[in-house]
Symmetry: C2
Subunit: 690 residues, 2 copies
């Protein structure tokens, strides 16, 4: 297309095109020119059009277009989240109904229990892989990479959105048997919606476009968490943690705004669908508000933080081991490469056998869904004391408790079985090549860990730890603290602490939750162990610089020198008009660096293609001996790096200043350029070195 | 001191000094050498010393020294906060006791009511101004400036800490008469403690020092809010908002850690002093948890956000007007310049006359302290309905309610008087030249605004807005939402929303609070109106770039060209050894730029003073004709800006990369350098232009 500009006539044509394009501003686009053929109801249509334009103007005078995009992002993701939840709940109820109708026929029950999740996992895998193979997995490590500035193809496409959505619903409908969650893929979905909205926004704004896609993706990450849990604050904190090294405070208000839009829509939808009476939290708890815990219990919360940190290390190690094993073992890697669906079916079948309620599932409350598991674990009553007086409980609570303490099995035994078995089942489930989140399972596992400690304490101190005041131990509080601490330790983040608060509304426990999360984070971060997402990034060799540097800090000293590429077409100051014309003909770049001479390429600045075209137009009839330096304004380069700049510094500067390309000079001489493509290559090379 | 290095003998001396300094690592410092004169209990002392060293080693293997600094910062500020609160409460009780003992003697009561705050304000003003004039005011605008990278003298000194501490206690003890708060100065105090701890840390770490003062100050800002309110999360959000343009995610965990340490210590101190039974929030509320509000009430919360935004505009305008009036009016500005203490006494006396309980104070609950005012406003019972059945309330609640609804005055009248009169009193109080915070008054004023709306609604809809469910309107909820929205609008931040949540623990209202705060922020930020702190920055002409750019966005296009200063001593590549010696003798710089020739100063890189000294040492006996370029490794400059870089970009890059000085080149030729001092000058020039 750019080749058109060469001849003089086409340049005139081009000017006219530009002029007409300028007159077609956004507002004028709505007015259809009068030369069109006759259409019915002309007056009514033009009146409606006028109204629409006035509304549009009024709306744009109230706030910029980007704010409507943020609001739309919040509302759309909340609608999507609600629809996913509704569909999954129906599919889960169908499975439960079928299973209960087969009561008495163990074989049929076994088939129902095992084949249902196996089929769903197969469907999820084959669907996502046939439409968009990039839709498998959580998607969060890839999103972190994209937000850090490196482009990955197909991760933000609409086909990926469709594949991930359907795959996620299938995965979630497999229920607590495969024990996988929603957050990670949902944040990915929200990012895809965000990227799509940004494309619309960019096309509506044209060249005035002020917000970049990166900003929209940061907002979309916050919205993802917020619309998933109805938790705006933890969404914003998540977006701060996910971004990497420097958070632009400019994104802070948009993040909050979009997150609140998402959370409000999600909660209002629950009200309108008669699920709840008013705007409230997802997991209602009833902790005692007067004396939620004794001050001395803080020491136990600290211990719980240490415990969660230690268990998270075991989990993270096993997770990395199995991921590496699956990739390196010849048989399994070939099996997965060729028969993904069959692999999913096999693993889901295996998981279902273990959790079958007539086998080991009897000891680990396997009939409860993920939501019921968490609700049960956050219950504030002491299960161990109920066993003597079960009729005191409400009906729903009694059902949950009976699942956790079936006849002949104590609460401790079932919690212990759950903790010991689920850990390995979860590690196995993480190898499934389907869209799935790993946050909620980890959160529930942490809750079980905390509950186990809480129940143990309640057994040891039936009248509370301090005998002075009458406050008994609340195992639900321990479960909440454990959940936040374990999820925080696994992901190396602090936003799960806020998430625990917002999910339950239990602000009484804010200090213990934060303490335990900080301590578990400290334990799991010791000795440069990678987090859950960092581990996946490293094993998948994603070009995510921070996870590489965290895994091997010496990489932060690597310099960009070896990765610099030549700067493409370079003009010299004494370039004649004919030379400029050649350059315009043979290259498609938008901006050209100008150096002193090709022999001693001291970088003088840049000229744009438009400048050169104007220059050609002015000088077409004059003499061709004038040089570029005399007739063209060379703009100095705002920012130059040297070959000794480290990759980390270059990455940081480019992402903060939002530069697409930076010139690299040495002793004033142009060495080359660094663009995001080179940055990606650099990080990929570094990833290979680990 | 650096002149010593020139001669050869002194160079040797220097080498020896360096060697001995290196052997004196931190751990070895504790061992006192054995040549010292005899001291008693040698064995016991050495054993204790050995133990201390082992403990030190164990602690440092557990976490870096900086983490202990963060913990110390949290604990110290919490202790300081608790001590301030305790002292202020005693002084306030003394005043209340004296006033109540004078019951029946109106004249004596008048004198007691007016002279007590006037004396305290005089004391606060004269004390702070005689010890450190920089201790007056909130200190937050200055802290924002310092955190953005620009140094201001005396703002982090120990004398300022002492003056501000005593001054703040006096101001707070003047009570709700002068209606000033604690947060701003306390954040400043916390920053001073942080700066002091950083000096200790830097001296202990020596050259290995990894964390900069800027990072410590960001953490200290979070701790300030956290230790003041026991609210860690809003502390962290505050530190993100205060930082300016880019928040380093590296500071995120330290902020959380220190903030939790502060909040925990503050709350534990309350437990140990028998104020509270367990670790709990500062303002206990008892909102109905089952149905906290009807979904339709969200529309009213939105209206409340708009109202708070509009009132905040009035307040901000008046505040800026009075600050400018005080500075420009000849009489008052001369009066303040010469007689600060008398001015404070006069204003405090005037304020006390208006709030005297036998005058207008009767209609605005002036006998309540700031804490009581907020507790009363957040009460969940409807005051208007109590008036018919007052005996139902508890004793403390009845006292608070009686103050708000004294005989013959309806709740609406007293709330209306409070809102109408306090606004202007607060604007007047803001001119007082003493250490004082403006957040809490604004927060309480917002609560009154919300309460007024809530009481009005409760009067209009006595059975709740929706007749379907039995949930009556909770005016306390409106007060909470109003407080967050108004404080957020005045400061242009969102952290007050979190602060409101953490102060009361009312997580049921998280969505309305966030919605109202976002909307009030949108209203108050419209048309580039400066925030409360921005307004002070602009009027005081502080070198804070972001507030300037917010006030006049075209300043973001100003280029650094006109501000670049020459780069001091510049070496040329062909410099001979004798020339180098002259340079070393005549300059004190640590690093020298090297150019091609002085006539065509193409920047080649830099050499350090140490390199040059080594060079001199090697070549002292050889021929002196060798040039610098042949014998010395010239390190390329990692980052170069051009004269066309904007001030905003340069500021952003320098603060993100944490560079002390950046070279400015044009067409490869060295133009000069930019350091933080030049940056400060640039911003001061820009501030003059507004």
């Amino acid at each position: 297309m750019e080749q058109v500009y060469v001849s003089c006539t086409s340049l005139d044509e081009n000017k006219r095109q530009q002029a007409s394009a300028q007159s077609e501003t956004t507002q004028d686009k709505l007015i259809i020119c009068n030369e069109r053929p006759w259409k019915p109801w002309q007056p009514a249509r033009s009146r409606i059009r006028g109204c629409a334009m006035r509304v549009q103007r009024a709306m744009l005078s109230l706030a910029g277009l980007e704010w409507y995009c943020y609001a739309a992002l919040g509302v759309l993701t909340a609608l999507m989240s609600f629809w996913i939840d509704l569909t999954v709940a129906k599919l889960l109820r169908a499975h439960q109904w079928l299973y209960s109708r087969l009561e008495g026929h163990v074989l049929l029950q076994f088939l129902c229990w095992t084949l249902y999740p196996a089929c769903l996992c197969t469907l999820s895998t084959s669907f996502s892989h046939s439409i968009c193979p990039q839709s498998a997995g959580s998607g969060l490590p890839e999103m972190r990479t994209i937000i850090s500035g490196v482009q990955l193809p197909d991760y933000l496409s609409l086909s990926n959105l469709f594949a991930k959505l359907v795959g996620l619903i299938c995965t979630l409908s497999a229920g607590s048997t495969v024990f996988l969650g929603k957050v990670g893929p949902f944040v990915h979905l929200s990012n895809m919606v965000g990227a799509y909205l940004h494309r619309l926004y960019a096309s509506a704004c044209g060249k005035k476009q002020r917000r970049t896609q990166g900003e929209m993706l940061v907002v979309a990450s916050a919205v993802g968490v917020s619309s998933c849990f109805g938790a705006p604050i933890s969404g914003v904190l998540f977006s701060i943690e996910v971004i990497g090294s420097h958070y632009s405070v400019r994104d802070y208000c948009p993040c909050f705004f979009a997150a609140v839009c998402g959370a409000l829509t999600l909660r209002l939808l629950a009200v309108f669908s008669r699920e709840q009476e008013t705007v409230t939290v997802l997991f209602k708890t009833s902790f005692p508000a007067e004396i939620p815990y004794q001050p001395s219990e803080i020491l136990i919360f600290i211990f719980l933080g240490l415990l969660c940190g230690a268990v998270s290390c075991v989990y993270l190690f096993s997770h990395r081991w199995i991921l590496r094993f699956v990739r390196t073992n010849k048989f399994i890697s070939r099996f997965i490469a060729t028969e993904k669906a069959l692999y999913s079916a096999t693993v889901a079948f295996l998981l279902a056998i273990v959790t079958f309620p007539h086998s080991a599932g009897y000891y680990m409350a396997s009939q409860l869904t993920m939501k019921q598991l968490l609700s049960a674990l956050l219950d504030s009553t002491q299960w161990n004391s109920i066993s003597h007086n079960a009729t005191l409980l409400g009906e729903s609570h009694q059902f949950l408790w009976q699942e956790w303490s079936p006849p002949g099995v104590s609460v401790f035994k079932s919690l212990g079985c759950f903790i010991l078995i689920k850990l390995w089942l979860l590690v196995l489930a993480c190898t499934l090549p389907l869209p799935a989140g790993y946050f909620m399972p980890v959160f529930i596992f942490g809750a079980a860990l905390g509950r186990f400690l809480g129940e143990g304490l309640a057994y040891l101190f039936p009248n509370g730890i301090s005998s002075e005041t009458l406050s008994v131990i609340n195992p639900g509080g321990y479960a909440l603290v454990g959940a936040a601490a374990f999820a925080g330790a696994v992901t190396h983040t602090l936003s799960p602490a806020l998430c625990a608060l917002e999910l339950t509304g239990q602000s009484t426990h804010v200090v213990p939750i934060l303490i335990a999360t900080l301590i578990s984070n400290a334990v799991s971060r010791s000795k440069h162990q990678p987090s859950f997402y960092d581990g996946i990034s490293l094993i998948k060799k994603l070009p995510h610089l921070l996870s590489l540097i965290r895994a091997s800090p010496k990489l932060s000293l690597v310099q960009i020198g070896q990765f610099v590429v030549p700067a493409g077409t370079v003009l010299q100051r004494s370039e004649k008009v004919t030379g400029v014309q050649n350059v315009l003909n043979n290259s498609t770049e938008f901006e050209f660096p100008v150096v002193d001479t090709h022999e001693s390429p001291t970088l003088l600045g840049t000229v744009t293609r438009e400048q050169l075209q104007a220059l050609m137009l002015e000088n077409q009839n004059e003499d061709l001996s004038k040089s570029l330096g005399d007739v063209c304004l060379i703009r100095p380069v705002k920012l130059q790096l040297s070959t000794e700049t480290t990759v980390k510094q270059a990455h940081c500067i480019m992402s903060v200043v939002r530069e697409e390309r930076v010139f690299v000079t040495e002793r004033g001489k142009l060495c080359g350029i660094i663009t995001w493509q080179e940055m990606k290559k650099m990080i990929e090379v570094l990833a290979e070195e680990i």
